[in-house]
């Protein structure tokens, strides 16, 4: 037996090594790393732009999977040799630059006949969407390279391209609340006035660790009847009084549960550990019951059967203890009134895991002037941060307005009709409810009640508001 076993083991290892050997010796050996990010600005010169475009074509864009640029290459898409020259005359009404941009972002708009599917469609994905996911500046760089292929380079990177590229990068990932109550604090605008993650707010009392100061009932009262009890140092009449009606009952329960640190029973019962406990009890209990029933029907005369009817109390005890301890710990621990730290926003892993940036192969190395900026997250625009602190309570987190309060700022004739200075002045002074020019009947407080805003701060807020309507 042992000899047979060892022979078989040896045989298995031999076959395994054979296949591994093919993989190591017969196939090409190279790693493929994600392409680096390129820094493209309005100052980037043409030659550098063309070089970046070539890099994008060969790497991040993945263009050569379908197109060729030499005699030998893939033919799933049109040959790119000379495309710069052909682009000018491909589509009537479109110059070369416009045609190339359209080909990249709307490949289905015009499909070269021999490369269309039987249904006349293009197989090419849009270059500004995943997986290529090229930014506006990268699109321009790629167009520059394509134009360089037997054509005249006319494309230029504009400030709008750069701003749009920055805007794409700055879209923050959603926070990962450990409790849905935290998500409600954001979506209902509480964060505009109250401190919940350690940032500074001046309008309402800080809510971090509020569960240590107030009971669940007191917190509930503060939400539905905010003027009943006013914290020392704060003013009456500032907090909206209709949360009691605008919040659904379960939303109010979640908010109170989150802030007070007390988890509602329904939420506890939805915990996966409870599901597992139910299943364990159901299946083990069911089988144990069946075993005892069958044993009792079989009579006590069969000694073997009788001995087999003994329950494995020891195992069951260990199991029950382990499950019970686990469930007690997991389900009945107090919830957190302080949300976790907002997750890091870099495009690479945070420092805990990654200590070196990814390698680049010679083919993927960026053009000389370009610098790969991978490991640092961009800082949010100051205007946006001030807007979030000051204005969202009435105008909503995306400035689309809140019914009965502030108006939509993203599509406002009033805002568009004012200069930056005029708009800043308007925010500084506010507008009373009885002002003849007030169209909502709701007062806009000076500086949105954020008295700390300087004139420069106001201009930053205006800059952000302008970007919302672009």
């Amino acid at each position: 037996m042992r000899t047979v076993f060892l022979r078989i083991v040896g045989f298995v290892i031999l076959i395994d090594l054979f296949y591994m050997g093919i993989g190591r010796l017969y196939l090409t050996q190279s790693e493929e790393h994600p392409p680096p990010e390129l820094q493209i600005t309005v100052e980037t010169d043409v030659d550098t732009l063309v070089g970046m475009g070539e890099s994008l074509l060969k790497n991040k864009g993945g263009c050569l999977l379908c197109h060729k640029m030499a005699e030998v290459g893939n033919t799933r898409g049109p040959d790119l040799r000379g495309v710069g020259g052909r682009a000018a005359t491909r589509r009537p009404g479109l110059n070369a630059e416009a045609y190339l941009i359209e080909s990249l972002v709307e490949p289905g708009a015009y499909v070269v006949e021999e490369f269309a599917t039987p249904g006349g469609e293009s197989i090419m994905p849009a270059a500004d969407r995943p997986p290529a996911d090229l930014s506006p500046t990268e699109i321009k760089a790629l167009v520059a390279f394509l134009q360089s292929l037997s054509g005249e380079i006319t494309v230029q990177v504009t400030a709008e391209d750069v701003a749009a590229t920055e805007a794409r990068k700055q879209k923050p990932p959603a926070p990962t609340p450990s409790h849905p109550g935290f998500a409600l604090l954001n979506s209902k605008g509480c964060v505009a006035c109250h401190d919940v993650i350690g940032t500074t707010r001046r309008v309402g009392p800080a809510l971090t660790h509020v569960g240590e100061r107030l009971s669940a009932a007191e917190i509930r009262q503060s939400i539905v009847d905010p003027d009943a009890v006013i914290a020392e140092g704060f003013m009456k009449g500032l907090m909206l009084k209709d949360f009691g009606t605008t919040l659904r009952a379960e939303e109010l329960d979640l908010l109170v549960g989150y802030l007070s640190g007390k988890i509602a029973l329904a939420e506890r019962l939805a915990h996966p550990a409870v599901h597992l406990l139910v299943l364990i009890l159901l299946f083990n209990g069911g089988v144990a019951w069946a075993a005892r029933r069958v044993g009792s029907l079989g009579g006590a005369s069969d000694s073997a059967a009788v001995s087999e009817r003994k329950m494995p109390w020891g195992w069951l005890g260990i199991l029950a203890a382990a499950v019970l301890i686990g469930v007690l710990y997991l389900v009945f621990q107090d919830g957190e009134s302080e949300p976790p730290a907002a997750p890091p926003t870099p495009t690479r892993a945070p420092a805990q895991v990654l200590t070196t940036p990814p390698e680049t192969t010679p083919e993927t190395a960026p053009a000389p002037e370009a610098s790969a900026s991978i490991s640092q997250a961009p800082e949010p625009l100051p205007g946006e941060a001030l807007f979030n602190v000051t204005c969202t309570a009435c105008h909503g987190p995306e400035a689309k307005g809140v019914p009965g309060l502030g108006k939509d700022m993203t599509n406002s004739e009033f805002i568009n009709g004012l200069s930056d200075q005029e708009l800043a002045e308007f925010i500084k002074l506010g507008r009373a409810a009885d002002d003849p020019l007030n169209t909502t009947g709701v007062a806009m407080p000076p500086k949105g009640l954020n008295v700390a805003l300087s004139d420069d701060d106001l201009l930053e807020v205006v800059k952000f508001i302008r970007s919302l309507s672009e």
Binding site: V4, G23, E31, H33, P34, L65, P350, V353
Partner: protein, 584 residues
């Protein structure tokens, strides 16, 4: 696992099995919740020495291999039991029970590996698991419930085997049906998660800022159904190969002619199941590939013509080796069939087709060459052999190899039969004409594919397997009238097969396992730098495609680990069977 002692003993066995699963899951849940709390909040965490990616890769693949085994075996166990009922054969019934015996220990290992995988994902990839939880949280409790149910019914199916015989057999068959239905349930739930990572649907946004617009679309994504079909067939194929290996091991360790006969037959059945499920597998693979292309051309092209292109050469070698091994096993097996020597003359042409097909499959389109060599050739492709590196040649080769293997199997079946009916000449003539037509059609389409655009060529690829399928059906239908009233040249001498054949069974098992590891790597790797393709980027330290050598090394180690566990399963099954035969 002891038997006898009636229902109390049977239920004691079931109780023990459920208890084991419960304990494993309880410990896993505790660790999965406690471990992340011991670390700081992070998107990713690093596992020392081998890294998080290799750990998750290895555990996931090993878990999948065992899962394939425990889900695939009950399918052909059930079929064998049904065959036993219809043929009134105790042999098939005993064989089915023997196969089922292998599963008890396998369930424990599968559950343990699954638990380790869960802990690893939650601890090392918390951001990714948060994303998956957002989308698939409602499926989780259901999945655990199905696992418990599957374990319960499987143990009951095995332990009640001897108790539900005779007039109560129908209840046992019902249990078998329930076991398989639950097994398929486990498969489709997990395929939804896997398919979502490749071809996500039903969500808007990216990363963790997603809104689930349709959980149904997230569940029933592009890759879901192709994965269901492909994995169902692959599970049966894989399960057959492993039980074939078990039979091979028992044959080589046998001490009597009776034992050798028994395990020779078991090995034949196991390999038959593996091959029968293997034949349609490439077509299920084409369906999966087609859906991947439909979802994202770029992903499809990366898979076939980009970073992973060369791995298909390795796959081709593996499949070519499988075909050669299967044919070798059948030719060796013919040695124990009186009358089988009549068909020896077909070995050479079949071997020629197989060897040529393997050579075509192993030929890459682009070869590694120096600049000077490329200049001399005029390109990166060999001037003559380069034409064999494209789809037309490879599709033609594989269809011819399938056809040849089918012919070998048909000759094996005819081994000890001598046709005596009036339809012999006409029937054989029609079969020969059909074979020539299929051969000619397959080759003609292959050649024509060189002269048409890619889109047309891809469409043509469906006709070749259709010709193979049509030929197989026609051939089988004609066998019935040809061999009606046939005489036997002698009983098959089970047990008198050369010992080499049992090593071939092991070769099949290892190769199928390696193939599964390779395909799993490709399927997972084509997501490239995405956890969820186009929805959630992979920004971990492992966000790169490793070299082929590294990947094949990891796969080889996983295969070795898998067979280490499988040897434990074999040993326990053998001990259990010996205990039943000679109880203490």
């Amino acid at each position: 696992m002891a038997e006898g002692g009636g229902w109390p003993k049977a239920l004691a066995g079931v109780r023990g099995g459920i208890l084991k699963i419960s304990l494993i899951l309880a410990v896993v849940y505790l660790l999965a919740f406690l471990l992340p709390r011991a670390f700081e909040v992070a998107d990713y965490r690093h596992f020392p020495v081998i890294g998080s990616r290799v750990l998750v890769w290895s555990v996931a693949q090993a878990h999948l291999m065992f899962a394939a085994f425990v889900l695939g075996v009950p399918i052909f166990v059930f079929i064998a039991e049904v065959v036993g009922v219809f043929l009134k054969s105790e042999e098939y019934d005993g064989l089915a029970k023997e196969f089922m015996r292998l599963l008890a220990m396998s369930y424990t290992i599968t559950a343990t590996l699954g638990g380790i995988l869960l802990i690893a994902l939650i601890t090392l990839y918390p951001k990714f698991t948060t994303h998956m939880e957002k989308v698939f949280e409602p499926t989780w409790a259901f999945y655990i419930g199905v696992i418990f149910s599957e374990a319960l019914f499987s143990y009951l199916y095995f332990y009640s085997w001897d108790l539900l015989q005779g007039s109560r057999k129908k209840w046992h068959l019902l249990l078998g049906g329930v076991v398989n239905a639950l097994g398929i349930g486990i498969l489709v739930i997990t395929n939804a998660w896997t398919g979502y990572m490749m071809t996500p649907g039903g969500v808007e946004g990216s990363d963790l800022a997603i809104t689930v617009t349709s959980r149904i679309d997230a569940f029933m994504n592009y890759a879901w159904n192709p994965l269901n079909i492909h994995r169902l067939l692959a599970n049966v194929c894989f399960g057959g190969a492993i039980v074939g290996a078990y039979a091979g091991f028992r044959f080589l360790a046998s001490t009597s002619d009776e034992e050798r006969a028994r395990f020779d037959w078991m090995g034949y059945i196991g390999s038959f199941i593996a091959v029968a499920a293997f034949i349609p597998l490439p077509f299920a693979g084409y369906y999966l590939g087609r859906e991947i292309y439909a979802y994202s051309q770029q992903m499809g092209v990366s898979m076939m013509g980009g970073s992973f292109a060369q791995l298909w050469i390795l796959q081709a070698i593996l499949i070519g080796a499988l075909f050669l091994a299967i044919n070798l096993y059948l030719w060796l097996a013919m040695a124990r069939i009186p009358g089988g020597e009549r068909y020896k003359k077909f070995q050479a042409p079949v071997l020629f087709v197989l060897a040529t097909g393997l050579a075509v499959w192993a030929t890459p389109h682009s070869i590694i060459a120096t600049v000077a060599e490329m200049k001399a050739m005029g390109s990166a492709h060999h001037p003559r052999l380069g034409v064999l590196g494209v789809m037309s040649a490879k599709n033609t080769a594989v269809n011819l190899m399938i056809l040849s293997t089918f012919i070998t199997f048909m000759l094996y079946r005819r081994g000890n039969k001598k046709a005596t009916g009036a339809f012999i000449v006409a029937g054989n003539s029609i079969q020969i004409v059909a074979l020539l037509a299929a051969l000619g059609g397959i080759v003609a389409i292959g050649v024509y594919g060189y002269f048409v655009p890619a889109a047309v060529r891809v469409g043509l690829s469906a006709y070749q397997p259709m010709m193979v399928g049509a030929f197989m059906i026609l051939f089988l239908l004609l066998e019935v009238p040809i061999y009606r009233g046939a005489t036997s040249l002698g009983e098959i001498k089970w047990g008198q097969i050369p010992r080499l054949s049992q090593y071939v069974l092991f070769f099949l098992a290892v190769t199928f396992t390696w193939l599964m590891g390779l395909m799993g790597y490709i399927r997972s790797g084509i997501r490239q730098y995405w956890h969820v393709y186009q929805v959630m980027k992979d920004t971990s330290e492992g966000a790169f495609i490793p070299s082929h050598g590294f990947a094949t090394t990891v796969i080889s180690i996983i295969v070795l680990i898998f067979f280490l566990f499988v040897s434990m399963v074999f040993a326990l099954a053998m001990r259990s069977e010996l205990q039943d035969r000679d109880p203490p």
